[in-house]
Symmetry: C2
């Protein structure tokens, strides 16, 4: 989905409560399987770009810049639905994830499960990070 670029984004942006740093957490979920892929952050500019283009763009806290998901790996996220929670401070993006979401080459960033003695990997690497970023 995308919002008509001529449409005012004001109503949508006003309903989102950005934190003191101007950011809001965004959960990405594969739209058809329900798999939770990752959680990242967005600022108002990333929200507006995502809605205008229909391709998910986050804010990278480490690089302090817009992070167009897949721009270096090719693993883009196409937006299917954009939701906000009851108190306006968390987003849920239903997406179609091309390839893998995680920089480690796992499909989802959530591949480590707590067991009696610590976390254990419960999902395979699908693409090697070397192939992902070559």
């Amino acid at each position: 989905m995308s919002i008509d670029p001529a449409s005012p984004m004001g109503g949508i942006l006003a309903a989102i409560k950005f934190d003191g740093a101007g950011l809001v957490p965004a959960i990405a979920q594969q739209h058809d399987t329900g798999e939770v892929l990752m959680m990242a952050w967005m600022n108002a500019e990333a929200v507006a770009e995502t809605l205008r283009t229909g391709r998910v763009c986050y804010w990278s806290r480490s690089r302090q810049g817009l992070w167009r998901k897949g721009e270096s790996s090719g693993q883009v996220q196409t937006l299917k639905s954009f939701l906000v929670d009851c108190d306006g401070d968390t987003l849920l993006l239903k997406v179609d994830q091309q390839g893998v979401a995680c920089h480690t080459g796992h499909r989802s960033c959530f591949y480590s499960e707590a067991q009696q003695d610590g976390f254990r990997e419960i999902a395979p690497v699908i693409v090697s990070p070397e192939d992902l970023y070559k």
Copy 2:
């Protein structure tokens, strides 16, 4: 699932990166349907209690105290699986949600979807908040 209370939690807690306020965001997902129910925060004590008891306990930022999900509404979350993401700073809890997750009486907190002119509710109220907290 729950961790043997006699088991050292050190390995699990050490793998989680709590933020400057000692908190980590936790996404709750219904384990069998994949529905994303809510996002809330945990501190180390909430993580340890959740793993020990198998019942989800968050940290309430507004009340500045442990928030045993369902203690006033009865809508408890039973823990099925506890995952951490690739960089250790977000949790994914697969749970069995009793009733509704949201204080508004919606099943999920994510019931408002962005459309051309703003957010629109796309899911019904299942239990009235009056009945939930009476």
